[in-house]
């Protein structure tokens, strides 16, 4: 199979997967939310009918009944309840595929917009800021420690990292967040303000934000500290362990022996040759991790009250706001699938051995 056909095959494949994921999710959401939407229609209609009664106290029962029917039809149309389930699912899928995300049922941006796309664009930067900063720190620490551990296999550091990785593997990030909040927002007081903790327990900016941009930035950093620390704490162990295993695999290859035989200093062998040879695998994990975090961490963001994508998804579920949930789901899935393909294609371009069949395993 030529490269061009390979690209086409991957893209077509992604497209099929995307459509199917969207159809399945939409069907699940609509089937799930049927009763909820009916309740919503009834509450709208009841509110309007009582308003109508107040406005026209002389209206006869017949008129009220007609008004009620008319409004019912309007709201059912509005929420698409007049159409059968499969038709609604297909329409929604089409709308999502054409990037027509529609309007939220209840959620609003701080600016008051009810467009789903605005809601997502409002939240996405917050998640990117939190997770990109967190991931970068995590990777720097993780890769550094992983290299060190691989260099001295069986050393105290190596064993400590393996143990720490195992412990953090089963550590819920959101619980760690709760602990951090407990310690740093409640038990350790703020030296400048005895009524506050050392760090805020949630949110992204203080309620009375300083107007000065520099102070604003400091305030933001102050809010960012606890979530980022939590993220780094629970994930750097796994990173170090993974890096260690990748590097260890490379270390056993012949070219390393050759480099050593040439008399290169160990430092140069490690960072010049080994890290370079291991970098595609590490880079893949880095990209997948960053992209995978764009959906946000639902529970951790809720714990930290961080207005990111994960929190948006949770708000959408809690309020049964299906358009938002579907939009969220579509955007995150699309970005994820696209990334998988891009990685795959770059690999296919760089390494002709890698072709269809060897996809990258997600983290």
């Amino acid at each position: 199979m030529g490269y061009g056909r390979y690209v086409l095959f991957r893209l077509a494949n992604m497209f099929v997967v995307l459509i199917l994921v969207t159809v399945i999710s939409a069907a699940l959401f609509y089937a799930a939310g049927e009763t909820f939407l009916w309740d919503l229609v009834m509450s709208h209609v009841n509110a309007e009918v009582s308003a109508y009664r107040q406005q026209y106290p002389t209206a006869s029962e017949e008129e009220i009944r007609r008004f009620k029917q008319e409004r019912e039809k309007f709201w059912m149309d509005y929420y698409g309840l007049t159409k059968p389930l499969w038709e609604r699912v297909l329409i929604t899928t089409w709308n999502l595929m054409t990037f027509n995300f529609g309007k939220a049922l209840q959620l609003r941006t701080p600016g008051g917009s009810d467009k789903v796309i605005d809601l997502i664009l409002d939240r996405l930067p917050n998640t990117i800021l939190l997770f990109t900063v967190g991931d970068l720190i995590t990777m720097a620490i993780g890769i550094y420690l992983g290299m060190k551990a691989a260099k001295n296999v069986g050393s105290l550091l190596d064993r400590a990292i393996s143990t720490f990785a195992m412990v953090t593997y089963s550590l819920p990030m959101w619980w760690t967040g709760m602990l951090m909040i407990m310690v740093f927002s409640y038990y350790i007081p703020n030296p400048f303000n005895p009524y506050e903790g050392l760090f805020p327990s949630g949110g992204i900016l203080s309620p009375e934000v300083p107007p000065d941009p520099f102070l604003r930035f400091l305030d933001f950093l102050w809010h960012l500290t606890l979530p980022v620390t939590t993220l780094v704490l629970v994930s750097f162990g796994g990173w170090a362990y993974a890096t260690r295993n990748i590097v260890l695999g490379t270390l056993q290859q012949d070219f390393v022996m050759a480099a050593r035989a040439k008399g290169l200093p160990e430092r140069k062998v490690l960072y010049g040759h080994v890290l370079r040879a291991s970098s595609p695998a590490i880079a893949t994990s880095v990209i997948l991790s960053v992209v995978g975090s764009l959906g946000g961490a639902m529970i951790s963001e809720t714990v930290f009250n961080w207005p990111g994508m994960g929190n948006l998804a949770w708000m959408a579920i809690a309020n049964m706001d299906f358009p938002v949930l579907l939009g969220w789901m579509y955007v995150t899935t699309l970005i994820w699938l696209l990334t998988l393909i891009v990685i795959d294609l770059i690999y296919g371009l760089l390494d002709p051995r890698v072709k269809v069949g060897i996809a990258v395993k997600g983290t």
Binding site: N13, V16, V17, L18, L20, V21, I24, S25, L28, F29, A32, M166, V167, Y169, S170, L171, P172, W174, W175, T176, M178, L179, I181, M182, S185, Y186, Y187, S201, G295, M298, I299, T302, V303, A313, W314, A316, I317, L325, W328, M329, T332, T333, W336, L337, A359, K361, G362
Partner: protein
Amino acid sequence: MGFKEFWEEFFRYKSGIAGLILLFGLAFMAIGAPLLAPTEAYENWLNDEYWVENPEGVPPTWAAWLMGKNLPGHIIMTDPVEEDHWQEPPPWGARVYRWVFKYDFYYDEPPKDLMFRVLGITRGEKAPLIRIKIVRPDEKEITITCNYKLSERFRDTNCISISVTGTKEARFDPLSKGATWRFAEKYETEENMIKAIGMVIDEMDIVFREAGPGMIFGDTPLLHGTYKFIITVKMYNPGDRFDGMRVIAAGKVYGLLGTDIRGRDLWVGIVWGSRLALIVGLIGSVVSTVVGVFYGTVSAYLGGIKDEILQRIYEVVASIPVLPILILMAAIFKPSVWNLALMMALFYWTGPVKTVRSMALQIKEEPYVEAARAIGASGWRILTKYIANQVLPYTFALMAMTVPGVILTEAGISFLMGGEIISEPTWGRILGDAHGYSKMWWWILPPGFMICLTGLSFVLIGYALDKILNPMLKR
């Protein structure tokens, strides 16, 4: 590899042994839950009426020792030191019951609350009356209620419950609140009484401190000694009866793990939660791993266009954002923990597919499989005898590694949805209840610690199994 050799090798790994010990501990907790914590308490986890006597949000007993203080424990007094019963002459002919309870107070702080309960009382036409008096060691008396009627409000609970602090106003009559204030009035300065208006006062300070100016703010020294609680109940109708009488000095500390904000014994939740976590974790991981391994093997074995189709289905399921969908499904179907585990398996089977498929693909090309095919072995025979045989042992390693993920997801769902979907006290749900009470470390620490420990035990075991059973890691 034989069974014996396997164990011999397994015990060479310290991590495997550590994991196994942890798992045995957890299994003991899960199986022995009815012995460690009463089943009744577990079944009544959501029944506020059941926990009404417990102090709300107090740390565990050993916390007092950590703080270096002698704090009052939770004491339920059911045996009166004096008991009396007589009939009044007509026209009313009331039956009168009188009890005296004794409470030795020698702690560094007053108890959290005092509660008086007449249990299982039934009333006829004329309501029973109750009088409660506290006699302090300095002979001063506080009359909590002198002529209290079982009001209509409490009729269906069949209990007269009076709390001195009146913090349980939803279930307890707050009537007693005035009594302590009237007592303080006699000894306090006018200035302090005016200052106290609108302030949050701990009524226990008034009861358990020396009478004098400042008592209302807890400034006077504690009054140690024996307190007497005198309770009189007068019943008018011949059919009236009651089941018992008790006085509760609610502790500032409680039990092994303290209580949550609704007075529930957290030890019960932690112990029974282990059962739920293991059920969810094991069912979820076993079902999803078995399905995933089967799927991956079959897909590799079939090959060609069938493999392609199976791989597309796999990709679709693997790309669905699991957590939101699971939460939504949980919100709608309100599953039991068993069904929740199965729901998770619906998405988690994708985990082992990729690894197992590539493993099976490799085995399929081995010369001995080719040889078997050449002498006419059936497809089913090759699948079970040659491929599954090699893949299956590794399945156990995969299972162990899947458990932590399943438990974390269940905990996350319970945390977010809390009472709306899960009626049992899972650890995640306890944490969900604790969200927002950040200062109660005894509430936040243990459930998360247990989640972590359970996950860790399986990771340790899985790590050892992986080393032993994964054919790709074999040296």
